[in-house]
């Protein structure tokens, strides 16, 4: 048993090393440009913003207010709210924005993907932006994103989705995570590997969305599936670090888990569906990013298994030499692990420093580092359990 276990230890250590070094190199290559906003251009296409909403009365008023406050010619902007059969007063609130140019459509509840497709069908803009009803734009969001459509093959652009400071631990930890994801996504965009067009806000070329058949209405993470479909069709997705969009994260641990299990289950299914992308013709996305996803999830469960194995198989005599055993444990894996942790900390430091307007308290960065592994264990194990037992998936 020991040899295969050692081989797994080596494999995971090498994989972790390779991954952090790869991202480090990518960062060093683009360190002077990654957080520089692109110059605004005079291009002002017609833009339709489609906002599906289901029982969003708590947030939609503020959300719509930020949309109508957008710095963009009003005659080029179409705002469509699709009330997806809400049973609260979402519809009435949205309707109250009628005098500010907001069109409100109503349909039977059919899920986010269906509501998005319904809105896209009615939209007339050259570009279609999809937006969650609990997300908030800044006046410059749209103008800062448009320059990223710098070639015909760019089918979508994604903003800097962030979480507002709140003081709530669960939200602040997610805030750090969102900044990390945002930073990684920006780096991935340099090798055309953006794997998601975030639900809070993303802009698409409408003709591409229609050509691809719109959103997958049955998908658990339709914003990831459409991005994978775009990758499969050789379209490009650009990502911005500076065009801000704020969104409401889950407020409690329970809500967080529900969201992450849905993301993970949807992600597993999507990457399985798009496994055919692992071919040289899909470039870095096919030969690096898709395999990286498979390997990451495999490495996670192997690492968890190894940690459990090493704990369970710890000889009973270790209780008599506990301190000495701790000292003797320092070795090759400690060195590699320390390197990976140092790069990750550097990564966090660069991430937090990359956003001039985001002041993140050090204690939340620390909490993120401590808690996140346990969060991942919880939602990944739950995801695996639900997938193996074929538990019914809810959006």
């Amino acid at each position: 048993m020991e040899d295969p276990v050692m081989l797994l230890n080596y494999a995971i250590a090498f994989f972790s090393l390779f991954t952090v070094i790869f991202f480090l190199l990518l960062f060093l290559r683009h360190k002077d440009e990654y957080n520089v906003p692109p110059k605004r251009t005079g291009w002002r296409p017609t833009v339709s913003i489609v906002i599906p909403a289901y029982n969003e009365s708590e947030y939609i008023r503020e959300s719509l207010q930020t949309v109508v406050n957008l710095d963009y010619p009003k005659d080029k902007l179409e705002i469509i709210v699709v009330d997806d059969g809400s049973i609260d007063n979402t519809f009435d609130i949205a309707k109250s924005f009628g005098n500010k140019g907001v069109k409100v459509l109503r349909k039977e509840n059919g899920g986010k993907g269906a509501a998005l497709n319904y809105g896209i069908e009615k939209a007339t803009g050259e570009l279609v932006a999809t937006m969650d009803a609990d997300s908030y734009l800044t006046p410059g969001t749209l103008l800062d994103l448009l320059p990223l459509f710098d070639e015909e093959k760019v089918a979508a652009v994604t903003p800097a989705v962030k979480i507002r400071p709140s003081g709530s631990i669960i939200k602040e930890v997610q805030r750090v995570e969102y900044l990390m994801i945002l930073f990684s996504r920006k780096l991935l965009s340099y090798i055309d590997c953006v794997p998601v067009t975030p639900g809070p806000f993303s802009i698409f070329r409408r003709k591409v969305l229609l050509e691809l058949g719109g959103f997958d209405e049955k998908n658990l993470v339709e914003d990831q599936e459409i991005a994978l479909r775009m990758q499969a069709n050789h379209y490009k997705i650009r990502s911005s670090m500076t065009a801000d969009v704020y969104t409401e994260p889950p407020k409690s641990f329970g809500e967080f888990m529900t969201q992450r299990v849905r993301w993970q289950r949807g992600g597993l299914r999507n990457y399985w569906k798009y496994r055919f992308l692992i071919k040289p013709e899909y470039g870095d996305f096919g030969m690096f990013f898709v395999p990286l996803n498979y390997l990451t999830i495999m490495a996670f469960f192997l690492l968890l298994g190894l940690l459990i194995y090493h704990t369970v198989s710890m000889p009973s005599y270790v209780q008599y030499i506990f301190i000495e055993a701790l000292g003797m444990s320092v070795g090759m894996f400690t060195i590699i692990g320390a390197f990976v942790v140092m790069v990750t900390m550097f990564w966090l430091y660069v991430t937090v420093r990359s956003f001039d307007n985001e002041k993140v308290k050090l204690r939340y960065v620390g909490l993120f580092m401590i808690l996140y592994w346990y969060f991942m264990v919880c939602y990944n194990v739950l995801t695996l359990w639900k997938e193996l037992t074929r538990a019914k998936a809810h959006w």
Partner: protein
């Protein structure tokens, strides 16, 4: 559409990973060797301490006058030997760091300490239980369990106010002293346990160990 694969980036990342990995392996090996060297020094130092006790035993006249010294010295020496044994096992099992010569030296020290304890028990009239545990790291599924059970049994005895000292020997290592003890006690299977010259071949559970101690007493 022709899509790019960033080969130079992957190659650089791979080479740097290999370099960091190699540094990790190198430093890890240095640390494991340092741990083994530290244990080797401790074995050497304990051997010298053990020799001092032997010299006292050989002293002319009534060596029983030194019994308090023997007891305290042997108790410390045996405790240290036990800890070194655990540390050697930990390095071998968990770090694959192994030095057969050091292990042979360790068995020699253990055997010396066993014989010394036996002699001191005779001279001083102690009722310390001396247990020899013969195991094998090759093809012995119950050896690990036997080791755990012996430790638990020693704790039970200690709770009753009795002292038991354990001397473990890997019969397959090729250590001359271990082989001599194997031959002397007629060990033909692993695990085997010998208490005050009474042998039990094969796995001995708590009852068997109690029986051995009772018979040996």
């Amino acid at each position: 559409m022709e899509r790019k694969i960033s080969y130079p980036l992957y190659l650089t990342a791979f080479l740097l990973s290999v370099a960091v990995f190699a540094i990790g392996v190198y430093i890890g090996t240095l640390l494991d060797n340092a741990n083994l060297a530290g244990l080797s020094e401790r074995v050497e130092s304990l051997s010298q301490r053990s020799t001092s006790v032997q010299l006292l035993l050989l002293a002319e006249g009534d060596s029983s006058a030194f019994c308090p010294v023997f007891r305290s010295e042997l108790s410390e020496i045996d405790a240290d030997i036990e800890r070194i044994g655990y540390e050697l096992s930990y390095l071998e099992e968990k770090k694959q760091a192994y030095d057969p010569e050091l292990k042979k030296q360790y068995f020699l020290l253990e055997a010396g300490s066993y014989m010394l304890s036996k002699r001191v028990s005779e001279v001083c009239g102690d009722d310390t239980i001396l247990l020899l545990y013969f195991y094998s790291n090759e093809d012995c599924e119950s050896c690990q369990e036997q080791g755990v059970d012996i430790l638990a049994f020693r704790d039970e005895l200690a709770a009753d106010g009795r002292t038991m000292r354990i001397y473990s020997f890997d019969g397959d290592l090729g250590s001359p002293v271990a082989e001599a003890l194997v031959e002397h006690h007629g060990i033909d299977t692993y695990p085997s346990v010998v208490v005050n010259d009474v042998r039990h071949s094969g796995y001995a559970d708590s009852d068997a160990l109690s029986g051995l101690v009772a018979n040996a007493g």
